[in-house]
Amino acid sequence: MRMTTVTTADPPLIELRKVCKAFAKPSGEPLTVLADIDLSLAEGEIVGLLGRSGSGKSTLLRIAGGLIKPTSGEVLYRAAPLTGPAEGIAVVFQTFALFPWLTVLENVEAGLNALGLPREETRRRALSAIDLIGLDGFQSAYPRELSGGMRQRVGFARAIVIHPIVLLMDEPFSALDVLTAETLRTDFLDLWIGKHLPTRSVLLVTHNIEEAVQMCDRVLVLASNPGRIAAQVPVRLHHPRNRLDPAFHSIVDELYSTLTSRAVEGITALSQAHGGLVQPLPLVSTNRIAGLVEALASPPYEGRANLGGIARSLGFGVDDIFPIAEALHIMEFAELEDGAIKLTAAGRVFAESATQERKQLFSEHLLRFVPLAAHIRQVLEEREGHRAPRVRFESELEDHLNRAETEKTLRAVIGWGRYAELFAYDGRTRSFALPGSPREQ
């Protein structure tokens, strides 16, 4: 067992004070991705950064590691300002970031290159890290010969070999399959709890709620637009943690409901601004929307489900379940509330209808609740020839959204509009048209 309470006596290993990060939009004005972040990593704890994609959690990790400079605010590492990558901070990457032209051993040694150690010392430390992380026998293999799990072990060994005081992990398990990820997680926890690692503190970025609860001593929930810390949830469970434990579940549910209320807040705020036109839409296919409605309508949920529960049963992570749930919420086929999702009357009708009625219903809801779709339709109706170039809407959106969000939103509305037969879109000419208008074929 491990002490999980945060001690206040020692100064934090890494401290972020009022950190902001903004990037320039195409229009030149700044787009704030992180606002006013206060964060500290204390001795002996694993801190989780939980958020959806686009919440800036990876940017935050890179700021803590000195890879990105904050626009404003302070970053302190062992009470001194951090001005760039520093000795004693190691990063484990989501994509492993191994050098494909180096063998496992050479990759691990690469981590030590900057320390200027004698060759024998480098070799000795690399071999012991390889041994610790369970890579014995793979020293002379090239990364492309290894499975994903083995590659990430190399990523861990390469980080551990420099004896980091702080370990920053950027979704280290999310590129792995479920079983492999679980093995790597428990192996890492064994080393951590057994104090076999020189590391004194870990920052873990994740979008997997259960992973956060399984590994972390406290979880910071990041809200998006701009990214800010919305809640802090301590996890005071003993290791090894049991996923079937009701206490474990209640923390998972608490995190889900925090994320849900952030999501609902976001939708409400943006649908009121600018007449709702610039509301970023979740990019989900109508198949998934219909699928979730059907799953919700059938037993055991009968119209109402706990998000954590239904995500688990569908094998979905946060980034899978939330966009669909949000799409349902925006179109009022369901309501998100406190970590639960509840079908509306329209949602129930949708679940019971056949294809043509579904399309009809979907089309009505799209026009009513997605102002962008209604706007496109109206423009097409008013225009002579009933055609409009994509760029027209793109520029409207880009005044308020960044390029990636604009692209995502347009792709979402195109997919939904095509399904609802509200409008057609020609990818070659990049233009919208009314369905059945002469040049649409």
Partner: protein
């Protein structure tokens, strides 16, 4: 002027519209070349042609000649590598240098190297008066100009596309600049560099023949080598000697392919960035031999250790400077000063050029050059169309039969590497014998060497065509023209475009040596821009050489920007299933 596939491939391609940099860069290249040449020409006055060994036509001398030619090629390759590592690195690391260097490189790629030849020969000869070193360096430089640009370009593209995660990993491990260069950047750019080096070598062969026997105005130089051998054979109408030269060249190409490039490709396979294991990794008997030999591997390990230590030295800018550079925003005053400097040089170059050219050139000359350019453009277009009609069906037929493709593919690549100008005398003999019109029948020579790029790229495309698409087409009984239009042609299109770009670039380059050819006293002139430049080179008429080069550069660059790049972007967009 090599427009190489690797440079144009996929994500490495950064689409750029015709911009102000292009005319400026053309101007700068021309001005520099003319400055060097005209300056040197004044020095060349009292120059007495160095004592030159006699060139012999006996086949016995050929191995020695082949060796000397190969050495020149390798020396030029070494120079190209040094150029690549410095020029491309500077362009990739400095935003301000990039603004100038990259458009410049783009133009240098498109300027026919024979154009440089006339200017640089006099320059080098006058550097070492009375010594054979001058002409040797001139030849090496000529070969260098046919090799360096695309290598530098591919390296620059490599440096600019280093994956973010590897970049972050290197930064988080605090690699020094030196470590980063050898650990991350060079390995990442290596596959493209190796491929372009091979392409450069092929391009170099083509011009080695032209650069060993040079005559610019009154200056006649013949260096012992295969190129001079062929030139003499042509002069003396010795068809047998031409045959010997072809055999010697074939053997040479096979040997250096086996001894140099096969091992290089097999070794370079580990630098591939894709995280998948190849079905059939490239192999080389020589590399296998080296790896299995105990003595050699001990030796190699020793050398490797030494190299390793050198590459691991923590060379780099002082920490304070690096921090300043990394996190300082671009400073406007410095930018303005930089722009002012560029502008000053451009204005100077412009007036210099006008001064050089104005007294001798009139609008009539421009009209002649442009109309010649139009004729060559017509030839290139017709030839590419013809080559497409012939080689696309052949390539598809071969590519869909894996066993056949395995045998044909190396052959096509060998043919692409073979200097086609060795075969020109044969064509001349035939044209004279049958009394054909040289304006029509000289044209195919332009594409003789480069048509193979279309063939082997199409073969590669057809081999990579997904089997399930073919099966789907077969099960829906899509046949005939519809099969070509809806199934196969879209599938091979990006590959075809890559091949056609290379073929068309090569054809322009070849026009200089193929539009005007001779066989002993017989001279055939097909007219066209290539013939124009060749003629003016022979006459030592620098202003008109410059004019010819300028017209060709403009046409080639316009063709790239207005036709090939949009086509490539289109191919990328349309044929991707994502």
């Amino acid at each position: 002027m090599e427009h190489h596939a690797e440079v144009l491939l996929g994500h490495r391609w950064r689409y750029r519209k015709l911009a102000w940099q292009d005319p400026v860069a053309i101007l700068l290249v021309l001005a520099t070349v003319i400055l060097l040449g005209s300056g040197a020409r004044q020095m060349v006055g009292p120059f007495v042609t160095a004592h030159q060994p006699e060139i012999s036509l006996s086949p016995v001398v050929l191995p020695g000649y082949a060796l000397r030619t190969t050495l020149r090629m390798l020396a030029a390759l070494a120079a190209s590598l040094i150029f690549t590592f410095t020029y491309a690195t500077l362009a990739a690391k400095s935003r301000r240098a990039e603004m100038v260097l990259i458009p410049l490189l783009d133009v240098l790629q498109s300027v026919p190297i024979l154009g440089y030849l006339s200017f640089t020969v006099v320059f080098f000869v006058s550097l070492f008066p009375g010594s054979v070193l001058g002409p040797e360096l001139a030849a090496i430089f000529a070969i260098f100009t046919s090799q360096a640009w695309n290598m530098a370009f591919s390296f620059y593209q490599g440096l600019r596309t280093v994956p973010t995660d590897l970049d972050e990993a290197s930064r988080s491990f605090r690699f020094s600049g030196w470590q980063r260069f050898w650990r991350l950047e060079v390995p990442f750019a290596m596959p493209g560099l190796i491929w372009n080096t091979m392409m450069s070598m092929s391009g170099g062969w083509f011009f080695v023949v032209a650069s060993e026997a040079i005559s610019v105005g009154d200056l006649q130089i013949a260096l012992p080598g295969i190129g001079s051998y062929v030139a003499l054979a042509i002069q003396q109408r010795d068809l047998a000697a031409v045959g010997f030269a072809i055999i010697a060249m074939t053997v040479t190409i096979v040997i250096y392919d086996q001894l140099l490039f096969r091992p290089l490709v097999a070794w370079g396979d580990k630098f591939r960035f894709e995280q998948t294991v190849t079905q059939t990794p490239p192999r080389s008997w020589l590399l296998d031999l080296f790896r299995s030999s105990r003595l050699l591997s001990i030796l190699a390990a020793r050398i490797g250790k030494g190299v390793h230590i050198i590459l691991q030295v923590r060379l780099g800018a002082p920490e304070a400077l690096r921090r300043l550079r990394r996190w300082s925003p671009p400073q406007r005053p410095v930018d303005l000063a930089w722009f002012a400097l560029i502008l000053g040089v451009v204005v100077y170059a412009f007036f210099d050029l006008v001064q050089f050219v104005a007294p001798t050139l009139g609008w009539a000359d421009v009209t002649i050059a442009v109309s010649n350019g139009a004729l060559t453009l017509l030839r290139v277009v017709v030839l590419i169309v013809l080559a497409t009609i012939i080689w696309v069906p052949v390539g598809v037929a071969v590519g869909l039969r894996p066993q056949l493709a395995e045998k044909i593919q190396p052959l096509a690549q060998f043919l692409a590497a073979f200097p086609a100008n060795l075969l020109f005398p044969v064509a001349v003999v035939l044209i004279v014998r049958f009394d054909l019109d040289p304006r029509v029948w000289l044209s195919p020579l332009m594409i003789l060497g480069t048509q193979w790029y279309i063939l082997f790229n199409v073969i590669a495309g057809a081999s990579a065509f997904p089997g399930d698409f073919r099966e789907a087409a077969a099960s829906f009984r899509i046949r005939g023209w519809r099969w070509w239009r809806d199934v196969m042609l879209p599938g091979i299109f990006p590959y075809y475009v890559t091949g056609a770009i290379t073929a068309s670039g090569g054809a322009w380059n070849a026009s200089i040596v193929s539009e005007a050819v001779s066989w002993g006293p017989t001279k055939l002139n097909g007219s066209g821009l290539g013939a124009y430049i060749a003629q003016m080179t022979e006459a030592g008429d620098y202003p008109r050489i410059a004019l010819g080069i300028a017209v060709m550069s403009v046409v080639v660059i316009a063709m790239n920007r207005l036709l090939w790049r949009p086509l490539y972007a289109f191919a990328e967009r349309r044929t991707r299933l994502e």
